[in-house]
């Protein structure tokens, strides 16, 4: 109750300040239209942002706000890294890449850098990781930090999990497994959904009807349950073959997700197919492959790219969810989804020991970071390819 009253009071004060801010701005600048015509919401936004920054500074000095300090430090470090990366990109490389880097926003540079690091890690995980992914090497549940006094071990800088496997190694291998599989799945989903979507849009008629109804049926089944069902069947087929089950998983998730891609590609394709240049190409006598890949696809890249970014994240989460449910990537293979599940209980200790809570958050953070990075890059590419300025 008291909190609630406090919130109302703070809000009222902010409203008052917003009025004062706008009036003061107008008075100080000699009635410039910027302040004079400023909507109240904008003035409030300024005041609110100022209050939020002040609150942030205060929070920085609160001893218990460890995560907040970590987040700010990480944010600043990421910004600096992205800035340096962009500077480097402007100096090194071909003319084309240099030009791309010159007009790149910081977010995109951060996204690119992150994706690059993830890619390198997943390729070289075997070399980088100090231990194997399924190797039991130390005491169980060692905390990150490597400080013995805090319950860590210098040999395992990110700690160990519930059966004593090195978390750093598992995170690195997890990149290989999770990212690699998610990427392959998304690509397959786009290949399937995109090709059939464009075909349906170009040919139309009964072909479009049959494909669309099949997709409707697939979409009518809740995707996670459907994936779970198919995975159960697949695991019976796969027997004890680990790689076979992974392959089945890729195909199953790709097919289920390709229905969404199909819908998008068909809708986008239908808008493009009616253009005069397609008609001109048809009248020239061009075949279907030329129409689809040379005429339609280049004009559909913008929406498809945006969808790719989103779809990648969804696939990623689906794999994590399947692993969480026990039918995805099978132990002992390292996977971020499984790691979050296995260590999830530690989140309860956040109030007492931030380090303990960090155990599951590392894998979760790795997923979140990649998701954000991919979307940053996709946004940027979208802006470039569509020529949007704002």
């Amino acid at each position: 109750m008291i909190n609630w009253i406090w919130a109302v009071i703070v809000l009222a004060v902010l409203f008052g300040l917003a009025f004062v801010f706008r009036a003061a701005g107008a008075a100080a600048t000699g009635n410039k239209p910027y302040f004079r015509d400023m909507p109240f919401a904008v003035a409030f936004g300024y005041v609110f942002a100022a209050a939020a920054i002040a609150g942030g500074v205060w929070l920085w000095f609160v001893p218990g706000a460890v995560f907040f300090r970590w987040a700010v430090q990480f944010f600043v470090a990421a910004a600096i890294a992205a800035f340096i990366f962009r500077l480097a990109g402007r100096k090194v490389g071909t003319e084309a890449t240099k030009k791309a880097f010159r007009h790149m926003p910081l977010t995109a540079s951060f996204g690119l850098l992150t994706i690059l690091i993830y890619a390198l890690i997943s390729v070289f995980a075997g070399l980088l990781a100090p231990y194997g992914q399924s190797e039991v090497v130390g005491a169980v549940n060692l905390l990150p930090g490597g400080d013995v006094a805090n319950g860590g071990d210098p040999a395992h800088p990110l700690g160990t999990d519930q059966i004593g496997r090195d978390l750093l190694s598992r995170l690195l291998y997890g990149a290989q497994n999770t990212v690699g599989i998610a990427f392959a799945t998304t690509c397959l989903a786009f290949f399937l959904g995109g090709s059939f979507g464009f075909l349906a849009a170009t040919i139309g008629g009964w072909f479009d009807n049959i494909l669309s109804r099949i997709v409707d049926v697939l979409m009518a089944i809740p995707s996670l349950i459907f994936a779970l069902l198919l995975m159960t069947i697949a695991s019976a087929w796969a027997g004890s073959q680990q790689w076979q089950l992974t392959l089945y998983m890729i195909v199953i998730i790709a097919v289920i997700d390709s229905t969404r891609v199909f819908r998008l590609a068909r809708a986008v394709g239908q808008n493009i197919v009616v253009m005069d240049y397609i008609e001109a190409a048809k009248l020239r006598g061009e075949g279907l492959p030329y129409l689809i890949f040379k005429e339609i696809l280049p004009n559909a890249t913008a929406p498809l790219l945006a969808e790719f970014g989103l779809r990648f994240c969804f696939v990623f989460l689906t794999i994590a969810a399947l692993s969480f449910l026990g039918v995805g990537i099978q132990p002992p293979l390292a996977d971020w989804g499984t790691m979050v599940r296995d260590l999830a209980q530690f989140i309860n200790f956040a109030a007492f020991s931030p380090l303990a809570a960090a155990l599951p958050l590392m894998a979760a953070g790795a997923i979140a970071l990649l998701t954000v990075a991919v979307n940053f890059v996709v946004d940027w590419m979208l802006q470039r390819s569509s020529g949007l300025k704002e």
């Binding site: 239209p33 005069d276 001109a280 009248l283 020239r284 006598g285 004009n299």
Partner: protein, 549 residues
């Protein structure tokens, strides 16, 4: 009252492109008295629409007022508060946009959108405003004024919608209306209705208006004074009659001269000559809706046949039948005396090559993701099997033929070109296939008059050099006069009249041809008044009313 209603002094506007601001209107002065109509003319990019909006104290995104003043009835519109402007817009200043179809909200009935402004400005109650709307509809001679307001925008025709928009602008009886090309998208016969309606209602309520257009003949009917703009500068201003009879500046004279382009007529073909394209009695339908019935005409080598008619008359459908996109139900289409398969998918590569098409909207006819070199190179590669350096050489030669310097254009995208240049690329793509016959579908109607003329001249020259045959689809009779050898007049999917151009422009006509011919605005300020008297008040544009209802 000596003080003008609208007073603009030294107005400068800047537009943003690639994060730099460039000036698009360089200090224009403008005075408008109460009840006066000022015509603003110029090519696209002259800044006339931007100026028209700025006269309301409004700028589009990416445009800003960088200097000068706009005073409306003593109120400074540049520096006044948003709330002050909001009190004026819709109430004392109204705006009629070019495309009524894009300006009405498709989700609401016309009358609901009509009553919005009066109700918000507390001028009338909703009920009063609805009654007033019906009165206005009646005045604008909309069919069924009692109930037309209760339709949705897609349920009325383009001309009716444009008039409904004029009625909406009138809803608060404003002192000033800005008309931004209100008839450009309409057929000549429909245009007459809208022009007459606008002129009547502006007279009746003594409203001042700024009429923006690129069509000189239209502005001659509407305006008391004309101001000519060129690239953001005022060229000259004078009252309408003076401006038409004795323009001072060279630029204005060149605008006036455009309408006089006419190529000499060619001799009639020998009676036994084999036509390049022969259309014989084709019937076509979209589903069950019949759109063409018994259309026949021949096109001989090196000649241009213009197909005219208003929208919905089946001109473009005829073109679709010839190209094979819409196989006709019955009838024969012959190329050089040989029957063509009716479906384009069954035609041979060689047959496809001989028939090429140039489209109205170069924007949608060129793939925005391909360079000019790729667009023109593809037919060469596809039909002639030429690639590499030889292809490049041929592309350059074709670019030269359409009067574009090849060096600069090969690697550009269509979006980097102007409208006229894009249309030249469209022509180049058709030429690249080395066809015998080209269908030109309204190729000049989206272009400014000067540019359109240069395109027509280019097409005429190419025809002479390459012995090309054209089927020229258009609704603009000035274009027909300029380029055609023969004319086919179509209405409701039937050929109404056809024959040699010289005969067609000489009476007696078929009544429909007569209606079309007489609906083309002339550069005479009294033309509309005279025409309306001749036709009688009640049946102007009787060809089109009721068509869409």
């Amino acid at each position: 009252m000596t003080e003008p209603l609208l007073k603009i002094r030294g107005l400068k506007l800047e537009g943003q492109s690639d994060e730099t601001w460039t000036q698009i209107v360089n200090g224009v002065d403008l005075d408008l008295k109460r009840g006066e109509v000022l015509g603003l003319i110029g090519e696209s990019g002259a800044g006339k629409s931007t100026l028209g909006l700025a006269a309301m104290g409004f700028t589009r995104d990416g445009v800003r007022i960088s200097g000068g003043t706009v005073e409306f009835d003593g109120i400074d519109l540049v520096n006044s508060r948003m709330s002050v402007k909001r009190g004026l817009l819709g109430k004392r200043i109204a705006y009629v946009a070019q495309s009524a179809a894009a300006s009405f909200n498709p989700a609401h009935k016309l009358i609901e959108q009509h009553t919005e402004a009066p109700v918000r400005h507390h001028e009338m109650t909703k009920k009063e405003s609805e009654e007033d709307a019906i009165r206005l509809y009646e005045r604008l001679r909309l069919p069924n004024p009692e109930e037309i307001g209760f339709r949705y925008p897609h349920q009325v025709s383009g001309g009716q919608l444009q008039r409904a928009m004029v009625a909406m602008a009138m809803s608060c009886r404003p002192d000033l209306i800005i008309f931004d090309e209100p008839t450009t998208a309409l057929d000549v016969t429909t245009q007459i209705e809208v022009l007459a309606a606008i002129r009547d209602i502006v007279d009746q309520f003594d409203t001042a208006a700024i009429y923006i257009t690129h069509d000189l003949a239209v502005v001659a009917q509407m305006a008391d004074r004309i101001k000519v703009l060129f690239r953001g500068d005022e060229v000259e201003e004078a009252d309408t009659r003076t401006m038409l009879s004795e323009p001072r500046e060279d630029y204005t004279k060149s605008l006036w001269a455009v309408r006089s382009f006419e190529r000499p007529a060619k001799p009639a073909p020998a009676t036994d000559a084999m036509p390049v394209i022969s259309v014989q009695g084709i019937d076509a339908a979209y589903g069950t809706a019949k759109v063409l019935s018994d259309v026949s005409f021949d096109i001989h080598e090196g000649r241009t046949v213009a197909v005219v008619g208003e929208s919905g008359s089946g001109k473009s459908t005829t073109a679709r039948c010839i190209t094979g996109l819409l196989p006709p139900k019955t009838g024969v289409i012959q190329l050089d005396g040989e029957d063509l398969p009716l479906d384009y998918r069954k035609r041979s590569k060689e047959q496809l090559r001989q028939i090429q098409m140039i489209y109205q909207m170069a924007d949608t006819a060129l793939n925005p993701r391909k360079t000019i070199g790729e667009i023109i190179g593809r037919p060469i590669e596809f039909y002639m099997g030429v690639s590499g350096r030889e292809k490049r050489k041929r592309v350059e030669r074709i670019l030269e033929e359409v009067e574009l310097p090849p060096g600069q254009y090969l690697h550009r995208l269509p979006s980097e070109l102007s409208g006229g240049q894009k249309q030249r690329i469209g022509i180049a793509r058709a030429l690249a296939a080395e066809p015998k016959f080209i269908i030109c579908d309204e190729v000049t109607s989206a272009l400014d008059q000067l540019v359109a003329e240069s395109i027509l001249k280019l097409l005429a020259r190419l025809q002479d050099e390459r012995k090309l045959s054209y089927m020229f689809i258009t609704h603009d009779l000035a274009t027909v006069r300029a380029i055609a050898d023969e004319v086919v007049v179509m209405k409701d999917g039937e050929v109404v009249e056809q024959g040699d151009k010289r005969e067609m422009f000489r009476p007696p006509h078929h009544p429909y041809t007569d209606l079309l011919l007489s609906s083309v605005p002339e550069m005479d300020p009294d033309w509309l008044t005279r025409l309306l008297e001749e036709r009688g008040r009640d049946n102007i544009g009787d060809a089109s009313t009721g068509r869409a209802s």
